[in-house]
Assembly symmetry: C2
Homo-oligomer: 187 residues x 2
Amino acid sequence: MNIEQILDKVYLLPGALKLKLYQSIVKVSYPKGHILLRADKIENSIYFIKKGIVRAYSKTGDNEITFWFGKEGDTILSMKSYVENQKGYEDIELLEDCELYELKISNLQKLFYEDIHIANWGRKFAEQELIKTEERLISRQFRTATERYKDLLKNNSNLIQRVQLGYIASYLGITQVSLSRIRAEIK
Amino acid sequence: MNIEQILDKVYLLPGALKLKLYQSIVKVSYPKGHILLRADKIENSIYFIKKGIVRAYSKTGDNEITFWFGKEGDTILSMKSYVENQKGYEDIELLEDCELYELKISNLQKLFYEDIHIANWGRKFAEQELIKTEERLISRQFRTATERYKDLLKNNSNLIQRVQLGYIASYLGITQVSLSRIRAEIK
DNA sequence: TTCATTTTTTATCATTTGTAAAATTTTTCA
DNA sequence: TGAAAAATTTTACAAATGATAAAAAATGAA
């Protein structure tokens, strides 16, 4: 998925402004296993995923909890860094070799006050992240782990093939053993 | 909490624009028990709470799940209606007699394209809702019901006094019986 | 391919949480 | 105030989930 499609999906900018935004974006690549964002750090960039898959996780005492997966077309950001310039909750680990587009937050912030279209692009961007976050919350609050696993199978079956089940179990809020039981029952 | 404080908390608008925004806002009052928003409806307004307390809940087959409480200074909105002009998940019920400020979404949308400050107000508004929603998700994903109850006791003790425990148990994701067990243990 | 490592599944037992029903407390309103 | 209704707590039992350990299967590197 290339950067033009990704930016247009948020809000269609006039051509000249699109170029202005492109000037702040660079393509970067990192290998599987790379830690892209860190929970103990204020992050300066957001990233759009051109190719690859990543997970957000957080360490809680002895173990860690995976709470988001990102794939082609998704945005990687520490919301706390982006919005409040504060440390966030998540480490982001690349689960495959990834091609990303990097955008410096400070450059974007500056543009918000220079042009109304870019301000509205930023508004739409936040609104869309909001909708996605609400969906995650609703899914977590309303559906059982079994239902959520079936949802993944239906809507993100490639994710299940590309990500090890321990991470998916953690994402679903259950142990890997429980997920195995669920998988055994479904068959 | 009056409307000026509520709007300023998002983003400080120049005086003239503040007036422009005020023109779209009216003060309304509804009694305890009133259903303000409905899940089966595309909502046309958002509301700011001047006084009172409300809950968002959703019906799931036989029972219902409470997934948000709003109090003075909070914004009541169906995110799906606001962002995507689609039906949302929630009914909003007033748990006390409430004084609210009502803002028509269509009026606000129009202003977004007329002035860059209001566009940035809208951006900040969405970003702040995003942070709050992420916090709810993180709390739900990382903390046990007992921990979350203790958080409420510490940070929102008045909420526990003003809201019946059945709703709080539902919000915590446990049964009322379990919450009673937790309360008995803490004492 | 083969061996070592990692990942997934299976089995057992302990703990937690839910369901249902009864008892108690609190609130509402005539 | 007092009776009825609503809300909360308690109890007993059942069901679901977690922890642990170990076996089986899959993956990856030499």
